[in-house]
């Protein structure tokens, strides 16, 4: 029930972001593309949070004192949802970069870092998709999750020294003298709220699904076996040739 309210809030704020974003006035330099400020920073923000939650869940599972299946589920769910947000961030960024920078992709530090983050998440999710024992999967994906986040600061220095092109962080230009018009800022923050709500909603549902999957692991086999046994039993009672022969011999 509570998640239904959360889902409703997410949907409403998403629609509101769409409406507010759409009604933003076009700017001189970027024309209508400036409206992407309602979605792109929000997606990036949420993608980084999802990555961080994945890493945190992994770390908490890895530490013996806090080891609990729920942290594994949290990390797994956040990693999966994170793939969606990271991919969307790269796609919207690309769409924004084409008219403003002139290319779909530039080898800028932040872009490269985000692409590497997506690759790390891909590896993490791919590992979780492999069929194996739940406890084993939990421990190896926890190690993978922590190994993935450990490289981020090193990656950061590497790609920053390599090259830097991206404009400063959008929120870093929050000073009153900022040339970012108030309506754009409002749209950006509305978008952030909306994406965070969507993320939370997806996360909760993914965790729930994961728990159900774990509970029902192997259950379908047990059900099928019980059904077959019941069939054989019925056969024996009614004297059908196949079932009866098996039971009789």
């Amino acid at each position: 029930m509570k998640t239904r309210i959360l889902g409703l809030l997410a949907a409403v704020s998403l629609v509101a972001t769409l409406v507010v974003g759409w009604r933003l006035p076009p700017t001189e330099e970027q024309a209508g593309y400036a409206r992407l400020i309602a979605v792109h920073p929000a997606l990036a923000w949420t993608a980084y949070i999802a990555f961080g939650v994945m890493a945190l869940g992994s770390l908490l599972y890895l530490l013996p004192a806090t080891r609990s299946r729920k942290w594994d589920r949290l990390a797994g769910a956040s990693g999966e949802v994170g793939v969606v947000f990271t991919a969307l961030m790269l796609v919207t960024g690309s769409i924004w970069g084409r008219p403003t920078w002139g290319t779909w992709w530039v080898w800028d530090a932040r872009l490269t870092l985000s692409a590497l983050m997506l690759a790390l998440l891909f590896g993490y999710v791919a590992l979780r998709k492999v069929d194996m024992d739940v406890d084993r999967r939990a421990i190896i994906s926890a190690v993978t999750g922590v190994a993935a986040v450990l490289v981020v600061p090193i990656n950061h220095f590497a790609v920053t020294w390599w090259r830097t092109l991206h404009q400063g962080r959008s929120a870093a230009t929050l000073a009153p003298s900022s040339n970012l018009d108030g309506s754009y800022l409002r749209a950006m923050f509305l978008g952030m709220v909306a994406m965070m709500l969507v993320y939370a909603w997806l996360l909760i549902h993914r965790i729930r699904l994961e728990r159900l999957e774990e509970e029902n692991r192997g259950a379908d086999l047990a059900v099928a076996l019980a059904e077959r046994r019941a069939e054989a039993h019925d056969g024996a009672v009614s004297g059908a040739p196949d079932g009866g022969a098996v039971v009789g011999s």
Partner: protein, 222 residues
């Protein structure tokens, strides 16, 4: 821990000396990669010479994937993995030993590839100190992160395809930093290579430390 590491490392190297898989299969492949780069980048336009550091480190990374694959394939057969778990050796020692054996093989491979770059691409080796230290630091990092990724993927049915996906994004800064350090050294500006070298050292330290800590629970439960 170090004694155990020595035991495991010596065991892996002995397996290698007797089977010669790295020498007979991985090394020729690595040289072949250098030849393929020559096909992709016209040798007459000087592209190869200018791109040599990057190509060299990509060849090293690809070969490292094979060496890691091999290092854990050895443990997969005949229940060797269970034997290792039953042996009572310190997991951290096992990690260090396996990583050291991989690093040793990679260093030999790097010398070979270095000769290959000189002969095939006409690269002039300069700034020897930075070149050598880069090799040491990058190899330590690759071997540590690779051993971790190797044991993560070991025993899974999809290990061959999963290992590159797990390792390459993590090893990406090693390739970048090692390439930049080599570029600086080969340009005769070794001093510009030092920040990259420090980064490689940090990477190696972080992943060796994490491997030492994480290998125990991994070996225990995986």
């Amino acid at each position: 821990m170090l004694r155990d590491a020595l035991l495991v490392g010596a065991k892996d190297l002995r397996v290698e000396v007797r089977s010669r898989v790295a020498l007979n299969q991985v090394a020729p492949f690595a040289v072949l990669v250098l030849v393929l780069f020559a096909f992709a980048l016209d040798p007459d336009r000087g592209l190869l010479a200018s791109a040599a550091p990057g190509l060299y480190w990509i060849a090293v990374t690809f070969s490292a994937l094979l060496a890691i694959q091999r290092s854990f394939a050895v443990e997969a057969a005949d229940g060797a993995r269970d034997g290792l778990r039953l042996s009572g050796l310190d997991p951290a020692g096992i990690f260090l030993g396996k990583a050291a054996a991989i690093a040793g093989q990679l260093l030999v491979l790097e010398v070979l590839l270095g000769v290959g770059v000189v002969v095939l691409y006409g690269t002039e080796l300069r700034g020897g100190t930075v070149l050598a230290l880069t090799c040491l630091a990058a190899t330590a990092g690759l071997a540590a992160a690779g051993t971790l990724a190797g044991v993560l993927a070991a025993g899974l049915r999809v290990r061959e395809t999963l290992l590159p996906l797990l390792l390459v994004p993590v090893a990406a800064p090693v390739v970048l930093a090692a390439t930049k350090a080599w570029e600086a050294a080969l340009d005769g500006q070794s001093d510009q290579g030092w920040p990259w070298l420090r980064l490689l050292g940090a990477f190696a330290a972080v992943y060796v430390a994490f491997g030492v800590v994480a290998f125990g629970p991994l070996l225990e439960e995986a």
